[in-house]
Symmetry: C2
Amino acid sequence: MKITVAQLNYHIGNFKGNTAKMLDAVQRAKEDGADIVCFSELATCGYPPRDFLEFDDFICLGEESIAALAEAAQGIAIVVGSVSHNPVPEGKDLYNSVYFLEDGKIKFIQHKSLLPTYDIFDEYRYFEPAHEWGIVEYKGKKIALTVCEDIWNIGNENPLYKICPLDNMMKYEPDFILNVSASPFDTDHAESRINIVKANCDRYKIPMIYVNHVGAQTEVLFDGGSLIASGDGTIHDELPYFEECIKTYELADIESATTENFQKKDKIALIHDGIIMGIKDYFGKLGFTKAILGLSGGIDSAVTIALAARALGAENVHALLMPSQYSSDHSIDDAVALAENLGCPYDIIPIKGIYDAFMDQLAPKFGDLPFNVTEENIQARARGVLNMAMSNKFGNILLNTSNKSEMAVGYGTLYGDMCGGLSVIGDVYKSDVFRLAEYINKDGEVIPMNTITKPPSAELRPNQKDSDSLPDYDILDEILYQYIERTQDPQDIIAMGYDAKLVKRILRLVNINEFKRYQTAPVLRVSSKAFGMGRRMPIVGKYLS
Amino acid sequence: MKITVAQLNYHIGNFKGNTAKMLDAVQRAKEDGADIVCFSELATCGYPPRDFLEFDDFICLGEESIAALAEAAQGIAIVVGSVSHNPVPEGKDLYNSVYFLEDGKIKFIQHKSLLPTYDIFDEYRYFEPAHEWGIVEYKGKKIALTVCEDIWNIGNENPLYKICPLDNMMKYEPDFILNVSASPFDTDHAESRINIVKANCDRYKIPMIYVNHVGAQTEVLFDGGSLIASGDGTIHDELPYFEECIKTYELADIESATTENFQKKDKIALIHDGIIMGIKDYFGKLGFTKAILGLSGGIDSAVTIALAARALGAENVHALLMPSQYSSDHSIDDAVALAENLGCPYDIIPIKGIYDAFMDQLAPKFGDLPFNVTEENIQARARGVLNMAMSNKFGNILLNTSNKSEMAVGYGTLYGDMCGGLSVIGDVYKSDVFRLAEYINKDGEVIPMNTITKPPSAELRPNQKDSDSLPDYDILDEILYQYIERTQDPQDIIAMGYDAKLVKRILRLVNINEFKRYQTAPVLRVSSKAFGMGRRMPIVGKYLS
């Protein structure tokens, strides 16, 4: 039996495009002589469809996609994830299902049992969990069909759940397991996926084929990395990260596999490749080709433009250099050198005249009040307006250049440098931004060394440095990581050896700046806990604040 | 038996403040000779605590509050909602529970069974549902304790759920039901609450006491309106809306009640009062007293400032009039008249010099390209920067003045008029904004008649009117309502008699402007479907777009 694994990039709500792409893959699978072609979770509508699921019309379009795919299931079986209706009035209206299509018809449907409802996931908001389990028989083989999370509760040891769907399917003695997934990227996730697939094979002693999404849906990145494993857990193949791939396997080869075939998992390289895919898909799926961003000479905008140039082509990324009276000469030189290294078009627009025009109007109100964060913010906001004006006039999207460390502690100006349609490195701590810069430079200097080595500064007042108001980024980032990714309590972080006053100050800064992050662009998610839809905090709260 | 109902305003994460407030109420109940005092759902930590629940320390603080309340439960029993631990490894770690405290101890805990996971609710993200039900006996009475949603599945007819907790409790023959709630306001909700309480009484033939939260937690408003109902569903009392209230009842009086006692439920009056509470609590709980906003002479900012003045005191609401070359004289006159009617301080800051400074810098890039939305946005953004500069310098919060109709179709400038810490009328359609203006004027002209009667205009180019680019608000709002609140499909809305092209155009505008709403301030929620946490839409989607 030959099985084609189709790791594809879908687009939420684009039923026509997604279906056409799958029909092409069916054709390709037929040419490969495949008996089955397998797509991923909710492949018809894309993942996550979110509240689009509340529209009957949206559900109907999914049914039409399934009908079109069923029609193509002639001489080949198609396994594909899509929504299905709950036929009884009790419980939520919808199931998240995997369909087995054969002979022009829907032959079998298995619903998803384990509905992730944590971090970015809201599946219990929409779906009823499965309460029945079966298998499908095809060409003499018995196949267990599962959806994503269903394989993540091995032997019922995941405390989030109380059911192990595969345990319930085993009484039918399946020959192998197909899993259709939409399992998002983070830098540790490929490793976890391999471990979970191995552990399932180890428990059930049958092969597993795991088909993941690839591509970005706004902030959520899917890395692909689909897996083909033998009954003893040997990883016969791992599909590439961050790109589409269609590949056909002989089941007998999978069953008898003895050598493993993994890709390298370097954290910084994964972040680099993931962000590039994220930018590319954000623009491509919205129908835009050109970006704009402010280039300060600092490392954040340098890394952002380098990644954007690799994603969109240097000629499509326009840099604005907007020096103020507090900008140092080297900042402008470094920014120009970078734009020229990359081959990005750039313009220099000084903001002093604009700043002065604001201050002229405000002078009667401000009187003798001292220069403070207000004037710093006016500079950042003047730049925001200029960026947006160029974006509006020339139809490109402004990229936000904030890093995760500064977003965490609120070290940024709302409606100023926090503007932008997409936050490129908002899930990358400052210390990893430096590592990304070195990685970008690994085959030759793209980002000027001076940008990497000089002390970080917002340059909004004379001789300002980040270290005037923030601790060293190494320490800051470690404390933030413990609090944000690992949800450690303040007393636990202090027990790790950090200064108690510092820990409390930082955690307080994180919590009182929730209002700023609420109004920030979607952040490309590369860690297990990014700001945005996966981290939901009260604004008006009084906890650690 | 005497029962005290304590309808209080909690603050998320403020365990100390919430506990102190409850201890005061316990004292007051004792003075009233009460046998029981009843608080509401998750009263210790406030509702909704969101991802604060992921911190062990946060859960511990709740346990400490329960311990402090238990200590005060001497000569009186206390019923209060708080988090509890799931003692077994299977299932989520936490329960959403109601505690019965007596004789210095926790006497009984009942967990919540029905976990709302829709609209603004994410309870399944955090909590395990109850699988066991009991009752508590106290002074010869048997009491069924329930948490909020647990009374909303009468006879298992709510399709969202498969369990009816009260049906399971009835075998113990309780004498009455206590329900601790955190049931958010919308203009229809008080009516629904009364109906559900009546329907429960009708089914079980015993009295019910329903204790709700009151107060605002950022965008979510709780109106109170706690209910005391006899066994035949007579509403013996309904506590006031939008204010705290502590009141003691004799159970025998509840049982024998024959007359009903409701408050008026006028939609516009409820919105008016709800928004005022929302502003007051947003500022109060963040520790701010002063607001600023841009006053254009139009109806949106007029209604916003009138509501803010009533919430915070006119002297605490600073108006900025920022005319451009396109502002009409009457706009400035109307805005001045309004500020003076209200007694709000105001300043006039023309933006022409600032606009010209931007255009001077951009001229070499823009060349001969025609005036378009870019230049309109520069005006709106110049105002945004001025508003924020005054906010930063003088430590007040900028109020956003966008209405729901324009937020829906993206008729607003991101980082311009869409700036602000709180969206005051972002859940009020334009046609209701007019009704609110009339309601505000009911005891005398506050908002100048000219502001109400003149055709709406953004005044960003000569002779601009909203009706140049949008249909009449009456039609627009009805189509938006069907799409947003009622999640009707385009074909259903067209079938209601609206022009097909218009419907498709409007729905497309709603969907392609998701990126703008993603970066907007939290919106005070007054309808059953507000923009924000209760409506979760993909940005990069291709559905109706």
